[in-house]
C-alpha cells in the first residue's frame, strides 16, 4: 500500500522532475563546477598545463597582492565604492516605495511606478552614454546651465568629487525604481485596520508612516540589506567601465575592471583568481556579520 502511494506520487511528479533537471544542470555546470577553479589562486596556473599539472605555489599570489601598492589601491577602491554605494542606496528605494504608497489615485500611481522602474531595463552602455553626454564639458546640457549661471564650465567628469556624485547618482537613478518593487509588495501586506486605528487615535499621515508602515516593513528591509551587503564588495564592471576616464582612475579602478585588464588581457589567471577569492571571502564575512547583527534585532535570515 505504502509502496503504491510512493509510486503514484513519483509518477505524478515525474514530469516536474524532468522540468527541474535543466535547473539542476545549470547549477552544477555553471555554479558548482567552476568553484573548483579556485584552485588556480594557489597555483602558478599555466593555460596549457591546466589544473592538474600546474605547480602549486601556496599563498604566493596572496602575498603578491598585499605587497603590491597598485593592487592594494584597487582593493581599497572596491571597498570604498562598494560600501558607500550600499549605504547610500538603502534609503532611496524605501522612500520611493513610501511615496508611491501614499499616492491615492490608482492610475497615476501605476504610471509613475512604471516610469521609475524603466531605467532598470536599460543597459549600462546606454545609460553611460547618456550620462557622459549630459555632463560633458563642451556640449553637455548640465554644463550649459552651469555656464549660464557662473560664466564658466565645470569639469564634472574629470574631478573626483563630482565624478563620485555622478557615479552614485546614476546608480541610484537606474536601480531605485526596481528595488522599490519589493517594498511596495511588503506594503500591500500591511493590515489596513492598523491605519484606521492610528487615525482614530489622531495620528497624522507622517505619524502613520513612522509608527505603522516602517515597523511593518522592517523585516523586509533587513532581509534586503543582508542580501545586498554581500554584493557590496562586488562592484559591477559595466557601470565603472563606461563612466571612468583617466583622471579619476585612481579612485575608480576596481577589482572587476582590473581583472578584465590584467587577467584577461595578460593571462594573469592565478593573480586575478586570488583577487576574486579574496573578494568573495570579504563578501561572505560581511554577510555573516550583518546576519549576526540582525539576529539581535530578531530579523536574521537564518
Amino acid at each position: 500500500m505504502n509502496r503504491g502511494v510512493k509510486r503514484r506520487k513519483w509518477k505524478r511528479s515525474f514530469p516536474l522532475m524532468i522540468l527541474f533537471l535543466p535547473v539542476i544542470a545549470y547549477y552544477v555546470v555553471f555554479k558548482f563546477l567552476p568553484m573548483f577553479g579556485v584552485i588556480m589562486a594557489f597555483q602558478d596556473y599555466n593555460i596549457r598545463k591546466g589544473f592538474l599539472e600546474s605547480p602549486f605555489v601556496g599563498f604566493k599570489y596572496f602575498r603578491l597582492i598585499f605587497s603590491t601598492p597598485a593592487i592594494l589601491r584597487v582593493i581599497q577602491n572596491t571597498l570604498v565604492l562598494g560600501i558607500t554605494r550600499f549605504l547610500i542606496g538603502i534609503p532611496f528605494p524605501i522612500l520611493l516605495a513610501l511615496m508611491l504608497n501614499e499616492i491615492k489615485r490608482e492610475r497615476f500611481k501605476k504610471l509613475s511606478q512604471t516610469c521609475v522602474y524603466l531605467p532598470h531595463f536599460l543597459a549600462w552602455t546606454i545609460v553611460g552614454g547618456m550620462v557622459i553626454n549630459l555632463f560633458s564639458q563642451d556640449t553637455g546640457m548640465i554644463n550649459g546651465i552651469t555656464k549660464f549661471f557662473t560664466g564658466e564650465t565645470y569639469p564634472y567628469l574629470y574631478s573626483e568629487g563630482s565624478w563620485l556624485a555622478i557615479y552614485f547618482g546614476s546608480g541610484i537613478w537606474k536601480e531605485t525604481g526596481f528595488s522599490a518593487i519589493i517594498y511596495l509588495a511588503a506594503l500591500t501586506g500591511v493590515d489596513t485596520e492598523l491605519y484606521d486605528a492610528a487615525s482614530i487615535d489622531g495620528a497624522s499621515r507622517i505619524r502613520q508612516i513612522i509608527h505603522v508602515t516602517i515597523p511593518a516593513i522592517m523585516p523586509t528591509i533587513i532581509i534586503n540589506m543582508i542580501l545586498s551587503v554581500g554584493s557590496s564588495v562586488n562592484v559591477g564592471f559595466d557601470q565603472i567601465y563606461v563612466l571612468t576616464n583617466a583622471t579619476v582612475n585612481n579612485i575608480s579602478d576596481v577589482i572587476s575592471t582590473y581583472v578584465y585588464r590584467v587577467g584577461l588581457e595578460q593571462m594573469q589567471f592565478s593573480l586575478t583568481s586570488a583577487m576574486g577569492l579574496f573578494q568573495s571571502v570579504l563578501g561572505m564575512t560581511l554577510v555573516l556579520l550583518t546576519n549576526h547583527l540582525a539576529k539581535r534585532a530578531d530579523a536574521s535570515l537564518w
Partner: protein
C-alpha cells in the same frame, strides 16, 4: 537523478553535434566563383623562388586556421568562416582548412578562452605583438625552426632573401616562434591640417613644436573659418592625435613604450624610461589645453568624436590612421559638409629632441604562429608556403582575373567593377595577412581613379605624405623587436602603465596638478613598483640579442627597395 542528468547532457551534446555537422556539410557545396581564375602573369618582381605548394596526394591533412571577424562580410556572401573565399581556399590549398572566427577587437580574450578550452586553432593569426608575446611566455606556441627546415619551401626562401626577417623573429632561445611578413614600407599615421584655415590666417605649415603651438592658438582664437563666431578649436587629443604628439617628442604608441627606446639621437644604446621626453610632451599638451585649444571632453572619447568634429569643421588638426583609404574617406566627407575645405598631411613638427616620423605600416611584421598542441605542423607549414606565393596572394587580394584587370594607363591591377569587388572580395583581407606584401608586384601602384577630382586630390595628398613620412633623414621608431617580458615583469608593467598614464592625463586636465608634480608622482610609482627590474631585464636582453633591429638612416632605403 544523476543518471538523468547524464542522459540529458548526452542529448544536448548530440543535438549540438548534429548542428555542427550540418554546418560543416554546407561548406563543401557551392562553387567557388573564382576557383577558375588563373594566376596573373609574373612581372619579375616576385623574388621568391617559384615553388608552388605540393599536394601530398592521397588524403589531405586537416588544419584549423584563425581568421579575424570584423563583421564586414555582406549577408549575401555568408559568414567570415564560410564564404566564396574559404571555399576557394578549401579547394585550392594543399591541406584541408577549417576556419575559426576571432573577433578582431577582442582577439586576446577570445584566444585565451580558446586556449583554455583546448580548442585554439592550429594556425594562430594575430597582429597584436603583446598578445603574441603573452602566448609565447605561456608556452602556447610551437618552436618553428625545425618545421621550417624540414618542410618549408617558399617561406624558407623568403627568410633567405630577407635575413632581417629571421633575426627579427628569433627569440631569446634562438628559435622562431612566429611567422612574419615582409611588406613595402608605407605611411600609416597622418597629421592632417586644414590648409584653407592656414591660408585664411596667412600662416605657414608649422615646422617646429613652437610653431605648432602658435598655429593651434591661432586656429582657436582668430576665427580661421571666417564665420565671425568663436566656434573653432585646434585639435582633440583622442585617438591617433595622442600618438602623433608623443611621436613629435620621440615616443611611440603607449606611454610605456618610451621605455624601450634607446637614445633617439643614436648616441647611446642604453634602454631606459625617457622621462624628459614625456615631460616635454605633457607640458605642451597642458599648455594647449589651458589655452582652450583642445576639445574638453577628449578623455572620454576614443577618437570617433574627434573625427566627427573635424568633419564638421570644428577642428583644424586631425590624427588619422589607415593610410590611403582613410584619406579619401575623410576628404569625401569633409567636402560634403564644406565644399571649400582643403586638407593635406604635414610632417611632424620638430621638437628639441629631433625630427621624428609617425607610426608607419611596418616593413617587417610578425603575425602568425603554430599552436604548440598542433598535431600536423607540416600541414600548417604547407599552408603558409602556399599563401606565400604570388598566385595565391593575387587571387585573394584582387580576386584574380575574375574580378580585376590591369589598367593600361597606370599599370595598376584594378577591379573591373568596384561595387562587385567591394561586395565579393574586399572582406577577405585577413585570410592572407601572413602572405608577404612584397610578393604582390602591383603593391606600389596607388589605386585611385584620377578621372574623379576627389580621388585625384587624395592621390596627391598621399604621394606628398609618403614623401614626408618615409623620409629616411628623420628618425623612425616603429621598427623594433620587443622582447616578451616574463609574467612577473609584465604584471609590474601593467600596473605602472595605467597609473603613469593617469597621472599624465591628470596633469593636462587638472589645473591644480602641475606637470612637475605628475612627473614626480610618475617616477615614484615607477620606482615603488620595481620599474628598474624591467629596465635591467631589457638592457640585458638587448645586450645579449643582436637580433634587435632599430631602424636608422642607412637601413631605410633598403626597406624601400
Amino acid at each position: 537523478m544523476k543518471k538523468g542528468t547524464t542522459k540529458l547532457m548526452a542529448l544536448l551534446l548530440t543535438g549540438a553535434m548534429a548542428l555542427t555537422l550540418a554546418a560543416c556539410g554546407g561548406t563543401g557545396e557551392g562553387q567557388g566563383a573564382s576557383s577558375e581564375s588563373n594566376a596573373v602573369q609574373e612581372s619579375g618582381n616576385a623574388s621568391t623562388g617559384e615553388a608552388p605548394a605540393e599536394n601530398p596526394g592521397g588524403e589531405r591533412q586537416k588544419i584549423t586556421v584563425a581568421v579575424y571577424n570584423r563583421d564586414n562580410v555582406p549577408a549575401s556572401e555568408g559568414s567570415i568562416i564560410d564564404n566564396r573565399w574559404t571555399r576557394w581556399i578549401q579547394e585550392n590549398a594543399p591541406v584541408d582548412v577549417e576556419f575559426i572566427a576571432i573577433p578582431r577587437w577582442e582577439s586576446g580574450e577570445k584566444y585565451n578562452a580558446l586556449f583554455a578550452s583546448n580548442t585554439a586553432p592550429d594556425l594562430i593569426e594575430e597582429f597584436g605583438v603583446d598578445n603574441m608575446n603573452t602566448f609565447y611566455t605561456n608556452g602556447l606556441l610551437m618552436p618553428l625552426n625545425d618545421v621550417i627546415d624540414q618542410y618549408s619551401t617558399t617561406y624558407k626562401q623568403l627568410l633567405t632573401d630577407y635575413p632581417a626577417l629571421e633575426s627579427f623573429l628569433t627569440k631569446e632561445d634562438g628559435q622562431m616562434y612566429t611567422f612574419g611578413v615582409v611588406n613595402k614600407s608605407s605611411s600609416n599615421h597622418y597629421l592632417i591640417v586644414r590648409t584653407d584655415w592656414l591660408e585664411n590666417l596667412d600662416l605657414e605649415v608649422p615646422k617646429t613644436t613652437e610653431d605648432f603651438v602658435e598655429v593651434c592658438k591661432a586656429f582657436t582664437n582668430d576665427d580661421p573659418d571666417g564665420n565671425g563666431q568663436n566656434d573653432t578649436l585646434a585639435l582633440s587629443y583622442a585617438g591617433v592625435m595622442n600618438s602623433l604628439i608623443r611621436a613629435m617628442y620621440g615616443g611611440m604608441g603607449s606611454w610605456m613604450d618610451d621605455w624601450y627606446k634607446a637614445d633617439p639621437a643614436g648616441q647611446s644604446t642604453e634602454i631606459k624610461y625617457h622621462w624628459e621626453h614625456a615631460q616635454a610632451a605633457i607640458a605642451m599638451m597642458e599648455e594647449l589645453y589651458d589655452a582652450g585649444c583642445v576639445s574638453k571632453d577628449y578623455a572620454t572619447d576614443t577618437g570617433t568624436q574627434a573625427q566627427q568634429d573635424f568633419l564638421n569643421g570644428k577642428l583644424g588638426f586631425l590624427g588619422l590612421n589607415g593610410g590611403k583609404g582613410a584619406v579619401l574617406n575623410i576628404l569625401t566627407n569633409l567636402k560634403a559638409n564644406n565644399p571649400d575645405a582643403t586638407i593635406k598631411a604635414i610632417p611632424l613638427p620638430v621638437s628639441e629632441f629631433g625630427a621624428f616620423q609617425p607610426a608607419g605600416g611596418g616593413y617587417l611584421q610578425s603575425n602568425a604562429a603554430i599552436n604548440a598542441d598542433c598535431e600536423h605542423p607540416e600541414a600548417v607549414m604547407a599552408y603558409i608556403d602556399w599563401l606565400n606565393t604570388p598566385e595565391t596572394l593575387l587571387t585573394l587580394k584582387y580576386g584574380g582575373d575574375t574580378y580585376s584587370q590591369i589598367d593600361p594607363v597606370t599599370g595598376a591591377y584594378v577591379p573591373k567593377d568596384q561595387d562587385v569587388f567591394s561586395t565579393e572580395v574586399a572582406y577577405n583581407g585577413d585570410m592572407y595577412m601572413t602572405a608577404s606584401g612584397i610578393l604582390d608586384p602591383y603593391v606600389d601602384v596607388l589605386k585611385f581613379d584620377e578621372s574623379k577630382p576627389l580621388e585625384k586630390t587624395a592621390k596627391e595628398i598621399v604621394i606628398e605624405a609618403d614623401g614626408y613620412y618615409l623620409d629616411p633623414s628623420r628618425i623612425f621608431y616603429q621598427l623594433k623587436t620587443k622582447p616578451s617580458l616574463p609574467s612577473d615583469l609584465a604584471l609590474i608593467q601593467a600596473n605602472i602603465g595605467t597609473q603613469i598614464d593617469d597621472a599624465y592625463t591628470k596633469a593636462i586636465l587638472d589645473e591644480n596638478y602641475t606637470v612637475e608634480q605628475a612627473m614626480a608622482d610618475a617616477q615614484k610609482i615607477f620606482s615603488d613598483a620595481g620599474g628598474e627590474k624591467i629596465t635591467e631585464y631589457l638592457n640585458e636582453w638587448y645586450a645579449n640579442n643582436n637580433g634587435f633591429i632599430e631602424p636608422n638612416a642607412e637601413m631605410l632605403p633598403n626597406y624601400l627597395k
